[in-house]
């Protein structure tokens, strides 16, 4: 896989905690191609875990949790989305004030919350920690 030339890599799992490890694994695997350092990969793995946890905690009625990864030569963008059921809850009032959100800001270079039409999503950006030649 040549990271810089590939499109987004998208994985969907049932919106339940026991499936989060799948997304962690995929994120770590893709992150290793950026290249992120060992520590950077662990950061991203933990950040994906936390982002999933944040969204799952808030979205009782969701059915699908989706991770979309967009690798480029100098960064990895990861978007975690839960679908909100039709007319279901709107997200995460105050999610940005939670302890978990603080962790996210400490682990990745940028973290933003989007409330898109298909459900809330957390957008993470991790910059490559190994200089690209």
């Amino acid at each position: 896989m040549t990271a810089s030339r590939s499109g987004p890599i998208t994985v969907s799992v049932p919106a339940r905690e026991e499936f989060v490890h799948v997304l962690r694994a995929v994120a770590a695997s893709v992150a290793s191609r950026i290249p992120l350092s060992f520590e950077g990969i662990e950061d991203l793995r933990l950040a994906v875990d936390e982002a999933c946890g944040r969204l799952l905690a808030k979205q009782g009625g969701s059915t699908t949790l989706t991770l979309s990864l967009r690798p480029s030569s100098d960064r990895l963008e990861a978007v975690v989305t839960v679908d909100a059921l039709a007319g279901g809850e709107r997200p995460p009032a105050g999610i940005e004030e939670t302890l978990g959100w603080r962790l996210l800001t400490a682990l990745v270079d940028s973290v933003t919350l989007d409330d898109g039409p298909s459900g809330p999503s957390i957008h993470l950006v991790k910059l490559a920690s190994v200089p690209t030649s």
């Binding site: 490890h21 962690r24 694994a25 770590a28 695997s29 992150a31 290793s32 191609r33 290249p35 060992f38 520590e39 990969i41 933990l46 936390e50 105050g94 940005e96 004030e97 302890l99 978990g100 603080r102 962790l103 800001t105 400490a106 682990l107």
Partner: protein, 260 residues
């Protein structure tokens, strides 16, 4: 406490900080839950949680000392970055980055030992749960080991050998300068041409790069059992070619062999 309340309270505490020692205690009390939360999230790395909370608390104190109200950033964000930095430094100082792969290697070895046994007993490839039970590790650890192999073995240190069709002896010489090893293999080199490219590659990975059978399996994308068969076949062919057992090692990596 809502976000804006927190900001107001924090700001007034920082304003009082220079002349009021109790402001510092109050800040610690307010943000200790953050330190504890962050410590817990780093917990799965096998350190006692109390130690981690201690490290995180030190990070919090540092954050309080270093925070500058004139910055645009919220204290809680600044504190989280400082605390996570302290936790990571703690793991670096303790050689965590080395210990984790070592633990995963251990798990990998156990799984690797359990795999052929179970495959034989069951007459099929075992499940992760079955492997975990036999290897006496958790299913999550088996998966972590598999993940780790994937995540960390993908940047080759050197270009893969044997795919450009170069002479095998060239490849051998460029990979390892040990005269002893070269001498030993020089007698075998002519026979190497009777091997398939895949057999040469497996031999190379096994004896010159010192990989285990399961690592080779990962690298070339076949099962460990298959690697074992390729190795045996390749060594048998070499023995036949050279006409004796003396020069041909057993299926052990160099270094672990006894004197010939």
């Amino acid at each position: 406490m809502s976000g804006s309340d927190e900001r107001d309270v924090t700001t007034s505490l920082f304003e009082r900080l220079p002349e009021d020692p109790s402001a510092r205690e109050e800040l610690v009390r307010l943000f200790l839950p953050l330190a504890e939360y962050l410590a817990r999230r780093f917990d799965r790395r096998g350190e006692p949680l109390d130690d981690l909370v201690q490290v995180a608390s030190v990070g919090l104190l540092n954050a309080i000392d270093r925070f500058d109200l004139s910055r645009e950033v919220q204290f809680s964000t600044f504190a989280a970055v400082t605390i996570v930095g302290e936790l990571k430094r703690h793991f670096r100082d303790k050689g965590w980055a080395i210990r984790v792969p070592r633990r995963l290697q251990e798990v990998g070895l156990r799984v690797n030992a359990a795999l052929p046994e179970l495959t034989q007993e069951l007459g099929r490839s075992p499940t992760i749960d079955e492997l975990a039970a036999r290897a006496e590790v958790s299913p999550e650890e088996v998966l972590d080991a598999l993940e780790a192999v994937q995540a960390y073995s993908t940047t080759p240190l050197e270009a893969p050998v044997g795919e450009e069709g170069g002479a095998p002896i060239d490849a051998l010489g460029s990979e390892d300068s040990s005269i002893e090893v070269l001498d030993e293999w020089a007698s075998v080199a002519p026979a190497l041409t009777s091997l398939t490219e895949r057999e040469r590659r497996v031999l190379h990975l096994r004896f010159f790069r010192g990989l285990t059978q399961s690592e080779i399996a990962e690298e070339i994308g076949v099962s460990q059992m298959h690697v074992s068969r390729i190795l045996s076949q390749a060594l048998r062919t070499l023995r036949e070619q050279v006409g004796g057992d003396d020069a041909i090692p057993e299926a052990e990596p160099r270094g672990s062999r006894t004197e010939r």
